[in-house]
């Protein structure tokens, strides 16, 4: 089943003279349960793509359809609510709330949904699996970069979203931890039928994914099938 459909999406930055074509005519789709790696050189447009898919930014051209909802057709409020119910973000710079501790940072997106209640046993399990449980009352600035990255990951998973958009979630982890986190993600995908788009610079981690999207200069390279 197709969860995500990206068609002919382009995004430019800047004005006339120093215009940057961050993304040009991107099309692809992702099925439920797929674990997709996105690779490409620095500045090639990977983060831009994730932001567009997550509805944080709007494309200049093209359409993005998630779970049969066209994002550009949603109002601001609908989009916000749609995002918090369906999409989990792991930002490249973590973007944690400095004034909340690990636990509260993790459950933050869930608390925005008045209807849903926080599944504390699930959060506990999540934090334990990420090795953050005994650090749950610490604040972000009392954590190492890798620990912060794992908190960002926990936060993205907390609401059990349909799609997880992760911008280098293992960038600051040693290879052992990186592999563990990958395992956790794969488990989550299996358990909750989630779809993951993960940006990574780590070629070997990318190889363990279901598919790899190559982006160069804002363009998607043709996928090599059969890998």
């Amino acid at each position: 089943m197709t969860v995500l459909q990206v068609s002919n999406v382009s995004r430019d930055y800047g004005e006339k003279n120093n215009i940057v074509h961050a993304l040009q005519d991107i099309s692809f789709s992702a099925a439920q349960g797929e674990f997709i790696a996105i690779v490409g050189t620095s500045g090639s447009g990977k983060s831009t793509l994730l932001n567009l898919v997550g509805g944080l930014d709007t494309p200049d051209k093209g359409s993005i359809i998630i779970r049969e909802r066209e994002l550009s057709g949603l109002s601001r409020k609908e989009l916000t609510i749609f995002r918090r119910r369906n999409i989990g973000f792991v930002f490249q710079d973590y973007s944690l709330m400095p004034v909340l501790n690990v636990y509260d940072n993790t459950v933050l997106p869930v608390t925005f949904d008045k209807g849903s209640y926080v599944d504390h046993s699930f959060i506990e399990q999540l934090l334990k699996e990420l090795g953050l449980w005994d650090k749950r009352t610490r604040y972000p600035n009392e954590l190492s970069g890798g620990q912060q990255q794992r908190v960002a990951l926990a936060r993205a998973l907390a609401a059990k979203p349909a799609i997880i958009l992760a911008d280098e979630p293992t960038g600051n982890l040693d290879s052992r931890n990186a592999v563990e986190v990958m395992g956790l993600l794969k488990n989550s995908v299996k358990k909750f039928g989630q779809t993951i788009l993960m940006v990574t610079h780590n070629e070997s981690l990318a190889q363990t994914c279901d598919r790899i999207l190559h982006i160069e200069d804002g363009r998607l390279l043709p996928e090599r099938s059969g890998e």
Binding site: N51, G54, L56, D57, R76, K77, T80, I81, R83, R84, R85, F89, F91, D93, S95, L96, M97, P98, V99, L100, N101, Y103, D104, V107, L108, P109, T111, F112, D113, K114, Y117, V118, H120, R136, T137, Y139, N141, R155
Partner: protein
């Protein structure tokens, strides 16, 4: 150095909006401070000029041995003018007139010229002022021959008298100028110093230079206290006396040191200065958190503490360098405009301490002169500002050193943090998040709240004082100066039973143009306070044995003293007894301390109203009289001789009546003070209805009649008719106050207007300040708001959160304002009752004003939060997160 400046400039440019706010803050603070300083300084200068005319243009006078000192220059003082006066024998046996010879300097200082003729040139010529000549029996004036101490002199000139206030001083004789200088003449050496330096210090230098003793020195108090004549030693003495003697206390210290209002002005300026500095600091503080981490990064790159401090200071200093002069320019320009319009409201006047019968209304309003820029204040302000900048830079560097680098970069300086997990308890975290953004640390919160509150507290304080000043002025005028009525008829007679008859006063009411006419019946009485009921035995000089404080011999002669000891712990006091009509009794309600004023009940139950003594600190507990007490009032029977006023003669001269007290008031209306209380000291009064006066004492005549006019325009005509109607009545004077009332009202309304204006400006500035800091707090958290939005917070949710937060901010600052203000109000109330002796000040500001200020604070906080939220929502999420 160049590097420091370049870096500082870069920072200023980087934080553009903060720099602009800080610049504006400095400009505003400088404008307020320099403008107010200029206004007050100009007022002082004008007061000094007025004092010069009234007291003479000199500072000190050397007498006795010191008088023949040469007035040559010396170190530490510079003499601008000198004058010598030689006083000779008394004239024709009169102690108060003496022969005199003066040099030009002296005449110049005292503004004495020959109005007619010329000053004596030959040995047989004299000149004197008109009054003195008349006293000496001169009839024609110029050219007349007068016998003086057995010799004949020709009057060659008529001069001006001594300056008005100087002439009132007791030990100064009137002078008859002659052209002979005798070695037996007593010499006086008058000195005027250059006023650019404190005259007191110059006098000290002169004394030590010439080895003079202070005993031989007289000071021109009226002028000196306006040009720095206060000796520090005296200030110390005053403090010592005030603190060691219980009955003196703070009111004494303040009252004495603030004789010319200098202290009050100082406090006003200090308040404005502190307000300005707090504002500047807090403006700077809001930009701090960002800067701190910046500087910490610089530190990792090898910046020393000194360099950091230098950059910080340079930043502030450059802003100050640009902002301060601009502010001074704006402030002085505004002050110039204000001063040229209503300058006289700033001229210092001693109106606060008068207790009755004094001449506020009679004196002309002061001359304001020109606006003078107060360079002292501006220089002082710039020095203070520089010092504050240095302090801020040093404090910040110290703060940076105390916290570790990592803490700094993490923008967290709070040590103790809550370890609670909030989401276990509550389902909404946004409140916590917002609260922690707004109030990151306790110290920071307290600091910003304080700086936000100061402006509002200043505003409330000045409104409170202004309200009460207005009330006090109205009540004082009505009671003491007769300004409650447009016209007054008074009796000028030393005899108790010289009165305007009832027929005459009733006839006045029929004159057209008069809307109402209240005749006050009057008689003199005596009350005995037995067994310690009278407590202020030191109130009257005749009860104490002080050598340098004696009751006026005239009063002793006529009354045998206002107070007379009649036994162990018993005293007889002379009192004024007034009979009012019902309408005046109703007006007396404004001055009510206790009890009720009900004319019908007074007539029915034989009760009266008691007015106790008031001392210099606004206390009224001199005599132990409370509601329900019975007063035995002794009055003089009609047609008794004037000696009966001593209350000593045969009992057949007097009546005794027992009357009980049903109300206690602070002032009488239409006061009679030419019998007892002539010297301005307070008296005990008993007030009753007109009918009671007649019934008990057979008094039907009145000593004062207060007249209100239908309109003040035809006062001239009414005045003439009143005079006509009273023609032939003994000792009758009619005073038309209409013009003075109009002038006074204008003066007061201008003064009130200014104070309301200044406080409104301060309040406005403080609101802008609140807006700025709140706006900054919110925009500095854009990234975090971006994250919240990315995590799924809706626009409405964000707006709600910010509005709530604004409300919380407003509530907290309102609470701080309320608490701070209540403390300030308590202090002000104490000052008003015990130092400025306000009549019946309200102890609480009107709720309307207080609640409006608090509500305005909350409303502004909410409004700013909502507006700032709007700008947050306008920006894209990605942009915010990347910030």
């Amino acid at each position: 150095m160049k590097g420091v400046i370049r870096l500082a400039l870069r920072y200023l440019r980087y934080y553009k909006s903060q720099t602009a706010a800080l610049f504006l803050g400095i400009v505003l603070a400088a404008a307020l401070f320099s403008g107010l300083g200029g206004l007050l300084g100009s007022g002082r200068k004008a007061a000094a000029e007025n004092a010069r005319v009234l007291y003479g243009d000199w500072h000190y006078c050397l007498t006795g041995e010191a008088a023949d000192t040469e007035n040559t220059a010396g170190s530490g003082f510079s003499i601008e003018k000198t004058g010598r006066l030689y006083l000779g024998d008394i004239v024709n046996g009169r102690e108060d007139i003496r022969l005199a010879c003066a040099d030009e300097g002296y005449l110049d200082m005292m503004f004495i010229k020959a109005e007619e003729g010329h000053l004596p040139q030959n040995a047989d010529e004299i000149a004197a002022d008109e009054n003195t000549l008349r006293t000496l029996g001169a009839k024609e004036g110029l050219g007349e021959t007068l016998q003086i101490n057995g010799e004949s002199f020709t009057v060659c000139g008529i001069t001006d008298g001594l300056p008005e206030k100087l002439a009132e001083q007791k030990d100064l004789p009137s002078m008859v100028f002659v052209n002979a200088e005798d070695s037996s003449f007593q010499e006086f050496n008058y000195i005027k110093f250059n006023e650019t330096r404190k005259v007191y210090k110059q006098m000290m230098s002169l004394c030590s230079d010439r080895k003079l003793s202070f005993k031989e020195l007289k000071q021109n108090l009226g002028l000196c206290e306006l040009v720095g004549g206060e000796s520090p030693a005296r200030i110390f003495e005053v403090f010592k006396a005030g603190l060691s003697q219980k009955e003196m206390g703070l009111p004494y210290i303040w009252g004495t040191l603030n004789g010319d209002g200098a202290l009050a002005e100082g406090v006003i300026l200090l308040g404005t200065g502190i307000f300005g500095i707090l504002m500047i600091y807090s403006l700077y503080r809001v930009t701090l958190r960002k800067r701190l981490s910046q500087y910490s990064v610089m530190e990792t790159l090898g910046m020393t503490d000194g360099y950091k401090a230098a950059v910080l200071f340079t930043e502030l200093f450059m802003l100050g360098l640009a902002g301060y002069p601009v502010g001074c320019l704006v402030g002085n320009a505004a002050a110039y405009g204000i001063y040229s319009k209503v300058g006289r409201i700033f001229v210092t006047r001693n109106t606060a301490r008068h207790t009755g019968g004094s001449s506020f209304a009679e004196a002309d309003l002061p001359d304001a002169g020109n606006y003078v820029i107060s360079t002292d204040i501006m220089l002082f302000g710039s020095a203070a500002l520089t010092a504050v900048f240095i302090l801020i830079a040093a404090l910040l560097v110290m703060k940076m050193r105390k916290h570790s680098l990592r803490q700094m970069i993490a923008e967290n300086t709070d040590k103790k943090r809550s370890r609670k997990i909030y989401s276990l308890r509550r389902s909404d975290l946004s409140g916590i998040v917002a609260k922690r953004f707004m109030f990151p640390t306790k110290a920071g919160t307290a600091g910003s709240m304080l700086s936000l509150a100061v402006g509002s507290v200043l505003f409330l304080g000045s409104v409170f004082v202004t309200e009460n000043t207005r009330r006090n002025n109205q009540l004082t005028f009505k009671a003491d100066d007769g300004l409650g009525s447009d016209m007054q008829v008074m009796i000028d007679s030393e005899n108790y039973d010289t009165v305007v008859s009832q027929d005459r006063s009733e006839a006045l009411a029929n004159i057209s143009g008069i809307s109402s006419c209240h005749a006050v019946r009057y008689t003199l009485g005596e009350i005995e306070f037995k067994d310690g009921a009278f407590k202020w035995t030191e109130f009257y000089p005749e009860l104490c044995n002080y050598e340098d404080w004696q009751q006026d011999p005239d009063i002793m002669e006529r009354f045998g003293g206002i107070a007379v000891k009649s036994g162990e712990d018993s005293y007889k006091l002379k009192v004024n007894i007034y009979g009012y009509d019902d309408q005046m009794l109703a007006e007396l309600g404004d001055y009510l301390f206790e009890g009720t004023i009900d004319p019908d009940a007074m007539r029915r139950d034989d009760t009266v109203i008691f007015k106790p003594l008031m001392d210099g600190q606004g206390n009224y507990d001199g005599a132990d009289v409370s509601l329900g007490d019975t007063l035995t009032i002794k009055t003089i029977r009609p047609d008794s001789p004037p000696e009966a006023m001593r209350f000593e003669g045969d009992e057949s001269l007097y009546d005794n009546d027992d009357l009980s007290v049903s109300a206690i008031v602070s002032r009488p209306l239409a006061k009679v003070d030419d019998l007892i209380g002539d010297d301005g000291t307070d008296t005990i009064d008993v007030i009753m209805t007109c009918e009671q006066m007649e019934r008990y004492f057979s008094v039907t005549g009145s000593r004062t009649i207060s007249i209100s006019l239908e309109n003040s325009e035809n006062s001239r005509k009414v005045y003439e008719q009143v005079c006509l109607a009273l023609k032939g009545a003994e000792g009758c004077i009619v005073k038309d106050y209409t013009e003075q009332i109009a002038r006074q009202d204008l003066y007061l309304s201008q003064k009130m207007f200014f104070f309301y204006g200044i406080s409104a400006v301060i309040f406005g500035v403080s609101l802008i300040h609140i807006m700025n800091s709140l706006q900054y707090f919110i925009t500095s958290k854009r990234r975090e708001f971006g994250i919240l939005r990315a995590m799924g917070m809706t626009d409405a949710g964000l707006r709600r959160m910010l509005a709530l937060q604004g409300a919380r901010y407003g509530l907290l600052s309102s609470a701080v304002i309320a608490v701070m203000y209540l403390a300030v109000q308590k202090m002000l109330f104490y000052f008003m009752t015990h130092v400025y002796l306000y009549i019946h000040p309200n102890s609480f500001i009107s709720y309307k004003v207080l609640f409006s200020v608090l509500a305005a604070n909350i409303a502004v906080c909410i409004l700013v939060s909502v507006l700032a939220g709007r700008s947050v929502l306008k920006t894209g999420i990605i942009e915010e997160i990347k910030e």
